[in-house]
């Protein structure tokens, strides 16, 4: 008898446990799904709004699927504002500063990881120290400097402050230090110089680290706002974020146009993210840097 009740208790406990587990999972998925929906919905809403007609926009209820579907918003906004020019500027600035940052950082990282010279560690400490400096402390003197150089409202003014990166140097130095040295030593024995060793051996081996940093540099440049806001005045030189914030001043309530502009601004970075997600996530967990 006791044996039987024991079995029954064990059975029901097992059922309850399995049932509880299933319930737990269901609740978990529901909550996570709701959270994910809350993350994705604003993007869908942006996209949907960009296809709304002026009339339908302000008439409740709000619709996720626009009716009628208005495809003219993109043309309209591109006509009133040099939207494609903003896009081009963003691409040029982001590509140029990413390429230069990766190149200069990799070279400096090689010097810090592989060359021996006096004051190296002190200099590296200086690099680390600059990581602590917030932009708003340097931005006024930087502006004055650019004025003396005649670079206000110009591409050099936009790009110059971000052609080197202490952060990138730090990240890549760590990566280089982790590489095996045997290949390099063999190359030196064969009479190769530093340039050859750097290009032929170190860079290829450090590809994942280079990719991680490149994606970060690109996203940081693509999303940067404060410096372009200050250094550039003419619409022909504005990057997307600055151009968009200007658009907002003019079309404060034309949400269909503003969302069309935002969609154009967000698509390239989403593509970069989709392609390089692995590197993006790893970069964040390694460094805590944000795009």
């Amino acid at each position: 008898m006791t044996e039987l009740t024991g079995t029954i208790t064990a059975l029901t406990a097992g059922i309850r446990l399995r049932g509880g587990r299933r319930l737990y999972r269901a609740v978990l998925y529901t909550l996570l799904g709701a959270g994910a929906a809350a993350m994705i919905f604003p993007f869908l809403w942006m996209l949907s709004t960009s296809f709304q007609s002026d009339g339908a926009l302000l008439v409740p209820p709000p619709r996720l699927i626009p009716s009628p579907i208005e495809t003219g918003n993109y043309a309209k906004i591109a006509e009133a504002f040099p939207l494609w020019r903003f896009l081009l500027n963003s691409v040029v600035v982001a590509v140029v500063s990413t390429v230069l940052q990766v190149a200069t950082s990799a070279m400096a990282a090689y010097a810090f990881a592989r060359l021996r010279f006096r004051g190296r560690d002190a200099l590296f400490l200086l690099y680390i120290a600059t990581l602590m400096i917030p932009l708003q402390v340097t931005i006024m003197p930087l502006f004055v400097e650019m004025r003396y150089l005649g670079f206000i409202d110009s591409y050099p003014g936009l790009v110059l402050p971000s052609i080197a990166s202490a952060f990138g140097t730090f990240l890549l130095r760590q990566a280089f230090l982790g590489l095996p040295r045997e290949l390099e030593e063999a190359a030196f024995m064969d009479g190769a110089g530093h340039v050859t060793v750097f290009r032929r051996i170190v860079l290829p081996l450090a590809m994942p680290a280079l990719a991680t940093f490149a994606i970060f540099a690109f996203m940081a440049s693509w999303n940067s706002f404060l410096w372009p806001l200050i250094i550039v005045n003419s619409p022909d030189l504005m990057t997307l974020p600055v151009g968009l914030s200007n658009l907002q001043g003019r079309y404060a309530t034309s949400w269909n146009l503003l969302m069309a502009g935002s969609t154009v601004a967000v698509l390239p970075i989403l593509i970069v993210y989709a392609v390089g997600q692995k590197y993006v996530i790893r970069g964040v967990t390694l460094t805590g840097l944000k795009g």
Partner: protein, 294 residues
């Protein structure tokens, strides 16, 4: 000694490899940093020649009601934002740290806002929170709540900025904490389940202590980043309405580039920088009290 590490070739290599990075860094970061100390002692609007005023800019800062307001708003912003992202990010990370199907998909969704530029996020949320035609107030209306004026209402403007900011950064906190959770060795939990420890006890005595280094990291980074809140404020509210969302960096930028008070803005930025450094230092000192390292 490795071949190729001596003589003029070695020196040339140092210059060649270091120069392209060091020169811009000195010119555009270290130089301006040093120069801004000097700038903070000047009265200069860029139009007339600069005038040396000693510490007058710093004295003026003490009595500047706008700056004091901006400091209060900035602290208020962080006080609202930080618990949201830390607790929210932790819950999501804990949920995702289980053997789940679709983990990568969830992580991608939560991380999407992190890679999006602030200007786009701010515009998105202005539209979502639009007092008249916004979808948030419409949804609130469906359940019988009369939604507030959000960013147009002085009382709701800062909460609006906080909501948008927390929405954008949740994924960032989640990814860092998730990495921390995944680094906790499985053996700890196995030992605990032999002991029959309950879910809560396991969380309290294993997960939480071992997660403190990641939490510390999140707190330090989030505090530094968010005391410097600017982009979202600039696009969502421009510091308004009625100056209710005016924050420190916004004050620095406005003083420098709208009022042409370069020296005064530089003084502001230095005081702010020292405070940021101080807060970070205090965090590192307090770290010993609550952060567990293996």
């Amino acid at each position: 000694m490795i071949v190729g590490q001596r003589g003029w070739q070695h020196r040339a290599a140092i210059v060649l490899f270091l120069g392209p990075s060091l020169v811009p860094l000195l010119l555009f970061t270290v130089g301006p940093m040093v120069a801004s100390v000097g700038l903070s002692l000047l009265n200069w609007n860029l139009l007339r020649p600069p005038e040396f005023v000693g510490l007058a800019n710093y004295e003026r800062l003490v009595g500047d009601a706008n700056f004091r307001e901006a400091v209060i708003h900035t602290v208020g912003y962080v006080a609202g934002y930080l618990p949201l992202v830390v607790v929210g990010g932790m819950l999501i990370a804990l949920a995702l740290n289980q053997r789940l199907r679709g983990l990568a998909l969830f992580r991608t969704a939560y991380f999407l806002p992190v890679v999006t530029s602030w200007v786009v996020v701010a515009l998105m949320w202005r539209w979502l929170l639009d007092p008249g035609a916004g979808v948030v107030n419409y949804a609130l209306g469906l359940i019988g709540i009369d939604g507030p004026g959000w960013y147009t209402d002085p009382a709701w403007a800062m909460p609006s900025v906080i909501i948008a900011s927390a929405w954008k950064d949740l994924g960032f906190v989640m990814v860092i904490l998730l990495a921390g959770l995944q680094a906790i060795p499985e053996e700890y939990y196995q030992a605990a389940s032999v002991d029959g420890a309950a879910r809560w006890a396991r969380f309290r005595h294993i997960t939480l202590p071992l997660l403190t280094p990641s939490l510390f990291f999140v707190l330090v980074i989030s505090l530094i980043n968010n005391l410097q809140v600017f982009d979202q404020v600039w696009v969502m509210t421009k510091g308004g309405p009625a100056g209710e969302t005016s924050v420190v960096v916004e004050q620095i930028v406005t003083n420098a580039f709208s009022y042409g008070q370069m020296g005064y803005a530089a003084a502001m930025s230095w005081v702010f920088f020292v405070v940021l450094l101080g807060i970070t230092l205090v965090q590192f000192r307090l770290q010993r009290r609550w952060v567990t390292y293996d």
